[in-house]
């Protein structure tokens, strides 16, 4: 079994995970705003956003060139780029790093696509475990409703169409999200997810998120020593 280690740097890493529509991005954005306004050293990074790798991923997704194996590896490459250039150096520099999705997203999605979990874990094992992982738990039907109510155009991979679960993108999305949710729940204990009930209003959830962060991180140690005008 692959062991993923926890870092011993001065910085702190907070990751949010959950289904599309669980509200996690809103929550981490509000957490970031609060920490910034309070004058803490904070950095935000999101899934699938490395400048160089993204170009390849975008092209590949468009032309449906990806298999489960290459889908997994290309996202791991993207993550590695952000990890090596930003996340890790900032943890060393004593920043609070906020990650909108972390490697658990890959563990869930890639395994649903048929990759072997131990292999995926190995590939990501160069990265540290987060100090806090907030899992926004919501009934799949609620999250799916939030996404589908606007009748958006679902992207091919977003809807899990590559899994051939259902010819209709909306039906496929529902089945796919349920499987992802199961995968998250299977990981929750092993990786010590802090479970947040995401069926509640935004401000109530944010209060809980801030309380957790205040309790588990000695915030005064992360004050910026220079003034930055926001």
């Amino acid at each position: 079994m692959v062991q993923i280690k926890r870092h011993d740097q001065k910085g702190k890493l907070i990751a949010v995970e959950g289904l599309d529509g669980s509200g996690k991005s809103t929550q981490i954005y509000l957490l970031k705003r609060w920490l910034e306004l309070e004058g803490y050293k904070v950095f935000f990074t999101e899934w699938n956003s490395s400048f160089l790798v993204k170009k390849a991923t975008k092209k590949a997704k468009k032309s449906k060139l990806l298999t489960p194996t290459t889908f997994s590896l290309i996202h791991c490459t993207d993550f590695a780029d952000r990890y090596e250039r930003q996340i890790w150096p900032l943890l060393c520099a004593g920043f609070i790093v906020l990650a909108d999705r972390y490697f658990f997203t890959a563990f869930a999605r890639d395994v649903v696509r048929g990759c072997n979990l131990e292999w995926v874990k190995n590939n990501y094992s160069f990265a540290t475990l987060p100090d806090i992982t907030l899992f926004f738990k919501v009934a799949p039907a609620v999250a799916i409703g939030r996404i589908l109510d606007g009748r958006p155009t679902l992207k091919y991979h977003e809807a899990g169409m590559d899994l051939n679960l259902h010819p209709d993108p909306y039906e496929s999305f529902k089945l796919f999200q349920r499987r992802i949710n199961d995968a998250y729940e299977n990981m929750a204990e092993e990786f010590h997810f802090t479970v947040i009930d995401a069926n509640r209003p935004v401000d109530i959830m944010q209060r809980q998120v801030r309380d957790i962060v205040k309790e588990r991180i000695d915030l005064p140690a992360y004050k910026l020593r220079t003034r930055i005008v926001l």
């Binding site: 692959v2 160089l52 390849a56 090596e84 072997n116 292999w119 590939n123 160069f126």
Partner: protein
Amino acid sequence: MKFYGKGLADIKADELAGKLIVIEGADGSGRSTQIRLLTNWLEGRGHGITDVGLKRSTLVSAQLDQAMQGNILSPITLSLFYATDFADQLENKIIPALKAGFIVLADRYIYTLMARDIVRGGDRDWLKNIYEEIALVPNVVFYLDVAPRFLIERNMKKSAGLDYWESGMDIRLSRDIFDSFIKYQRKMKQVFKHLDTLYHFEIISGNRSPRAISLDLQRRIENLMKV
């Protein structure tokens, strides 16, 4: 055929009818010449040939090239980018060709990818786990063994200069590219010696004429085809 590890879902390795022949060796060891000569020889005998090599996937080769030019990727990222490139060619070129009974000539394989990272301080187990899970065991791996001083000569003749990466300039073995090239290639050779104990290469002396090497390879491939 078989996979080193668990393998790819939906692929039955024992149903792959073709042969996978890998040629490994440093830059300037004569790999591409040998592949050209073997292609002629094998096609002349009526075999279908597919050739693959590093950084040739439709998926990421353009971005990988761009990254190499600017030297902007960190080591783990670069390593994973190469793994993606390899996996894409494996699934979209190598396996379909083997299914169709073709002979696949691979200009380098997972061994070079692992060796480059090991020389740069990469984690051996991590690399092993990435590649062994998905890679097919080749029918044979030829390692063209050429002394670094001959490699220099051939590289100079070929491109009137030494390649930045193939000289290991990124790991700062020396400020001098000539010196760095020799040191880097010696290190690579050591790592290949270690990999040989794990993966069993056929070591081919590359300090001979291209024709002599080709006849040697042909003889070995003939033996392989009889089995």
